[in-house]
Point group: C2
Chain length 342, copies 2
DNA sequence: TTGAAAGCGCTAACAT
DNA sequence: ATGTTAGCGCTTTCAA
């Protein structure tokens, strides 16, 4: 750890710090530093494992080659996967990722954004709580490189990468309807997230506009901080004393997981007595579950990659020219398995 | 984003930068700065949302309130959970986490460590590839705050937090034996990880020393970068043309997942024809899988918390006194489900 | 009690 | 072609 500094190189080689800095930043030629000097500097640096101090460099340049990522919860497989693809893509371009979880708290999110800015991240990718217009607007006003992921503010003109929530859920619900299911229950966490609203609308439109057999939507909303117990409790109300619905549509993977657990606990046969589908898969395990769960799959990797690409473009970090479209709604995939009655 | 700097405060208040810095770092009293000046400074700072620039502060103090976390892969639920608990615990203490994935590459791990040091993290938590003694030794020699997690170097005297791999696997295997299973196959990725070695030994001792019915160990090793296909292929060899084993013991959750997938694909009934157990659970879903999988559960949260606690202690960041034991082997939990034949 | 000034390590405008 | 110098914003020693 005995480090070599720019100064050391300059002294050893009898050149100025400037020269060294310039050369090591590939600006030797444009500053007409002799080839020989350049060679010497580069060789010396390499031989002594010189690495510029990141903080000093960042302080001086106002850039840190760091991307800030704010998500609800890194423990959740969905966000973990997103984080993974973001990290991988960022690493390819020489960026490091600093992540923090907001735990769905707008206040925490706000303070994290402040934190990240203070740490001079070069850009931000955030899966927002969507109750933090203030900061998002502030970032936009300042032209700070920003990409929203998974969750966007419909009223704000930001870059974003989301999936086709409406379409995915609409398709899934229609599939159930086509299988003759009538009383279909939509299950979601209690929140104002645009993504959930879209999923709901996709569901509702499917149900209400189903040709030949329109139906009333039925909804359950559970508390995010207590969803395991809450899902169980609310599902039970449809099952006892007598099962009175045909299917459940879960708006998130973990709700589907707990929902299935609850149904099993209540001895309700899926799909014989009641069908179910899930939006989003769970660690690639929903096909092993009994019954395998029909799911709407999100292109998680693509979301992460795309977000980074847009962000880098926004930061002007890439060689390539500006991307045309920085608002992306990615397609989802609908996988039919046994849980929906085929 | 129009920021207020230390200098601004000093100028506005007609005091020196020193005074401001001291007061804002709670060193006002010990430097005998008048109560009134202190009040003014603090008020002004608060009113103007002053936040010290993190890079500048870090550069100057050589500390950054940042913990570096290096893991094989953040997308993996196991490491995602660990990252989550580390982050949460670190946040409580005012630390931010910078994470990077090594993808099991010692070279990448090494460069990441260099990177992190260069970014002046105050301490490092690493789930090492275990093929990087060089850097670990270097860190130790320099007394750099370090905690190994999940994987440790048996030959090095570092701090670490791991689980009782031997004991967990031993217990699981014995359970199978007690159910009358004889030909039990151990499935692992091909690697020298100490954790896997311990799991293997736990398995082998159980099998070889089983009273009344010692048996030969049978092992399969699959390629990490291609485990899905490889597991499938190798399991097939035990199944076709004729099933000739009684049980599979999977040393990792994702192998168990793929193993089960493979068995299902081959139409082998679990647990009727062959039993199985898994080390580690998968996103809390192994109880929903058919059949529910008997698993050895790792105390993921505790691992993360413990690692942070040890690290902070190591960095001298906590008020509390030095911890006595910085080598922890945590207990695992053994959950019996249907997949092992009860 | 308070302030001047040096320094953390690097970058970049400006001279030479 | 190369070097001087002034920052980046904060901490901290030392002097007043």
């Amino acid at each position: 750890m005995k480090k070599v500094y720019l100064k050391d190189i300059a002294e050893q080689l009898n050149v100025s710090k400037t020269a060294v800095s310039l050369v090591l930043n590939n600006k030797g030629d444009e500053n007409k530093i002799s080839q020989e000097t350049q060679k010497r500097i580069i060789k010396f640096a390499k031989d002594h494992n010189y690495v510029p101090n990141h903080l000093a460099r960042g302080l001086s340049r106002g850039k840190t080659e760091t991307i800030g990522l704010i998500i609800p919860n890194i423990s959740d497989t969905f966000y973990a996967k997103i984080a993974g693809s973001i990290e991988a893509r960022a690493a390819q371009e020489g960026f490091t990722v600093v992540f923090s979880s907001s735990n769905e708290s707008p206040k925490k999110e706000s303070s994290l954004i402040g934190d990240m800015l203070n740490r001079q991240v070069d850009g931000l990718i955030v899966a927002s709580t969507q109750k933090n217009q203030k900061d998002i607007k502030m970032l936009m006003k300042n032209n700070f490189p920003l990409v929203l992921i998974d969750r966007n503010y419909p009223d704000l003109d930001t870059n974003f990468v989301v999936v086709d929530n409406y379409g995915g859920m609409n398709k899934a619900t229609k599939h159930l309807l086509s299988k003759g299911k009538k009383r279909i229950v939509f299950v979601a966490i209690n929140s104002d997230l645009e993504a959930l609203k879209q999923r709901y609308l996709g569901y509702r439109d499917a149900v209400e506009k189903f040709e030949g057999n329109p139906n009333e939507p039925i909804e359950i909303y559970v508390d995010y901080n207590n969803y395991e117990a809450d899902v169980k409790k609310k599902i039970k109300e449809f099952v006892e004393p007598k099962l009175n619905v045909d299917a459940f549509v879960f708006s998130t993977h973990y709700l589907a997981r707990e929902g299935l657990r609850a149904l099993k606990g209540l001895n309700v046969k899926v799909p014989e007595e009641v069908a179910m589908v899930s939006f989003s898969d769970l660690s690639a395990a929903f096909d092993l579950v009994e019954p395998p769960i029909t799911s709407v799959l999100q292109p998680v990797e693509e979301m992460g990659n795309m977000a980074v690409d847009i962000l880098l473009d926004e930061m002007g970090a890439t060689k390539v020219k500006t991307m045309n479209d920085k608002k992306r709604i990615l397609e989802v995939e609908f996988i039919v398995r046994k849980s929906c009655g085929s």
